[in-house]
């Protein structure tokens, strides 16, 4: 019975737990409860991932209504992979949050923080596992609304305008997606993703569908902060509480990338989007500009959280680049980077949060001399920073390796070179911070304690994950590869897809 309902549990659990969290009232209790629920979700996600890698797709009909009439919850390897990332990071961030929000969020609002976090988690899980295009929009808005609240919880007043800007942009993006879904519905009369895919492939070319695709891609691009629609992201991540930045940077944009992958590969089909509509060139160019422009922006910021935020936009460029290469390998690289980047950015934002807790500032000046005063935090920051650069034996290296291989496989020599050249800018923006931490002397008379254990543990778990997945890639690459195989197979029936998948794995 439990196993039978497992695909829907990652959505239902946090959704039910969120209001309970408010009822619990006390911050301590709410923290324990939220962490427990999130960890439970993580456990279920891992189970789902193992099942999907083993059996292919899991389908669940909500309320017993069979698809395409009812709403289908559908978990395949791609959803399970991102689901694991989201629930895993969420659990770690929640553990971390207790100490972190103590200083950054007013104590009367702690339970609200946990509630909003759980709601956001429910929304993200929903996006990942739904098989219904309109349902996806609803979950997107659930997570977004929770996100606006989370961003605005910080005690600094600038978080309010940042959240407001995020709200305006986010709502426009979501409405664009809604328009696009409406156009698809106008033409096909269905909202179930598989059904949509089957019916869209029957049309050779339809202006309604083309317009729908355009609306959806622009809407999703706003949500995932693709250059030049990224302007909401840096202020939001800069002024949000550190725990929120860590959570959003490693999950929210990743889920939006997943949505894009879903619309392009599952619903419209890569052939249609890339060859008929020529989206690959547009995405490729935007991705490369994002990598360079935003990496460069990151090198000139003085607020470390802004540096990381711009770096996030640049890294999203890498993911989109992988998608735009129009190959299974490219998609693998993109999905892999979703996973790896979550590990790095989560760790980096957590480390910065620890610094903020101790020094009260995230300006690069606050990092001066921290190498000696907060050695564990800064060591973690260093390793995660090296991972962003893509130094061997870190997860970032594996991503870069796959991206460049994918580009070279498509004979895109310039692109391959630009990917590598882009990581040189990462050396600069990470290097500036490390230099301040290790070579500058702290301001006179300031001594800071090492971050509390409850922050260091999740931070170092992520750091070790960075190293582990940089050395033993069989798990991350295997999952990303299976997911990419799945997505690029036009076949929809689980049985045939499964056999194709197994054949593909041995190639």
């Amino acid at each position: 019975m439990f196993e039978q309902h497992s695909p829907v549990l990652p959505i239902i659990l946090p959704l039910i737990a969120a209001p309970i969290c408010i009822l619990l009232g006390r911050s301590q209790l709410a923290w324990l409860f939220a962490t427990f629920i999130s960890a439970l979700g993580f456990g279920i996600s891992i189970g789902l991932m193992l099942t999907t890698l083993d059996q292919g797709v899991l389908s669940y009909s909500l309320g017993g209504w069979e698809p395409p009439w009812g709403i289908e919850v559908r978990v395949d390897a791609a959803s399970a992979l991102v689901l694991c990332v989201v629930t895993g990071i969420s659990s770690l961030v929640l553990v971390y949050a207790k100490e972190s929000i103590a200083k950054e969020i007013d104590s009367s609002q702690h339970t609200l923080y946990y509630t909003a976090h759980l709601l956001c988690l429910a929304g993200l899980s929903g996006i990942l596992s739904t098989g219904d295009a309109f349902n996806l929009f609803v979950f997107l808005e659930i997570s977004s609304l929770a996100t606006y609240t989370l961003v605005s919880l910080a005690s600094d007043k600038r978080c309010l305008t940042a959240a407001f800007r995020y709200l305006i942009m986010g709502t426009i993006g979501a409405t664009f997606i809604l328009i696009g879904v409406g156009m698809m519905y106008m033409k096909t009369g269905t909202l179930n993703m598989l059904d949509l895919a089957a019916r869209i492939s029957e049309y050779d070319s339809s202006r309604t569908l083309n317009t729908g695709l355009a609306f959806i891609l622009v809407g999703v691009s706003i949500k995932l902060a693709l250059f030049p629609l990224h302007m909401w992201l840096p202020p939001a991540y800069t002024h949000a509480p550190s725990a929120v930045s860590a959570f959003l940077a490693s999950t929210a944009t990743k889920v939006a990338v997943y949505v894009m992958v879903r619309f392009i590969f599952t619903i419209y089909g890569a052939e249609y989007v890339f060859h008929t509509m020529g989206m690959d060139t547009i995405l490729l160019v935007l991705a490369i500009v994002a990598i360079f422009k935003c990496s460069f922006m990151a090198t000139v910021q003085s607020n470390v959280k802004t540096v990381l935020a711009y770096s996030s936009v640049a890294q999203i460029g890498y993911m989109i680049l992988g998608i735009s290469l129009v190959s299974t390998l490219g998609l693998t690289a993109g999905l892999l980077h979703i996973f790896n980047h979550a590990l790095m950015k989560g760790a980096l934002f957590m480390a910065v949060g620890a610094v903020l807790l101790r020094t009260g500032s995230v300006d690069i000046k606050a990092f001066q001399g921290l190498g000696k005063q907060m050695p564990l935090t800064m060591a973690a920051f260093t390793i995660a920073g090296l991972s962003i650069i893509g130094v061997p034996l870190t997860a970032g290296f594996v991503s870069k390796w796959y991206l460049v291989t994918a580009a070279l496989e498509q004979q895109e020599w310039t692109v391959a070179f630009l990917v590598l050249a882009g990581s040189l800018l990462a050396i600069i923006y990470v290097g500036r911070i490390l230099e301040a931490a290790y070579f500058k002397n702290p301001a006179e008379g300031t001594t800071y304690k090492e971050a509390p254990l409850l922050m260091l543990i999740p931070l170092w778990i992520l750091v070790f994950a960075n190293i582990y997945f940089g050395i033993d890639t069989s798990m991350s690459v295997g999952a990303a590869d299976t997911a990419a195989q799945w997505l690029t197979q036009p076949s929809s029936s689980p049985a045939t897809a499964l056999s194709v998948n197994m054949g593909g794995a041995t190639q």
Binding site: F134, F137, V138, E141, L145, Y148, T149, S152, K157, R158, L160, T161, A163, F164, R165, L167, I168, T171, I172, A174, T175, L178, I179, G182, Y185, M186, L191, P235
Partner: protein, 118 residues
């Protein structure tokens, strides 16, 4: 001419959408931005509702002697979307209240720090 008349619902939708979008971009007052956002969203709701109409169809309530019904699904969908819209508006307005408290104004050009502009 028939192009305009036959697709009048779309023309209304497009007009509302552009008007709402323009307000969001150009308004100086944050509340007006939210109003613009609402108009923008409403246009999409109208798009959905109007496409649910089946020519000659009646309201989708089962009754004797009626064989042709309009499609009820878009209406149901939009019910959900309206809820989402209301929630967004309320979050936006709540943020404006807090911005007013923190900054003392809801006029964008009265913010002191240019970085805070929306």
């Amino acid at each position: 001419m028939s192009f305009i008349v036959d697709y009048y619902n779309y023309w209304i939708v497009v007009f509302l959408m552009m008007a709402g979008f323009y307000i969001v971009i150009s308004a100086n007052n944050l509340v007006k931005k939210i109003v613009g956002l609402n108009i923008f969203q409403t246009s999409v709701f109208m798009l959905y509702i109007s496409i649910g109409n089946v020519s000659g169809g009646s309201a989708p309530i089962v009754a004797d002697g009626i064989t042709r019904y309009s499609n009820p699904l878009p209406h149901v969908l939009i019910l959900t979307a309206i809820v989402v819209g209301v929630a967004t508006t309320s979050v936006g307005l709540a943020l404006i209240v807090r911005i007013k408290r923190a900054y003392g104004t809801v006029e964008e050009n009265e913010f002191e720090d240019k970085d805070d502009l929306i």
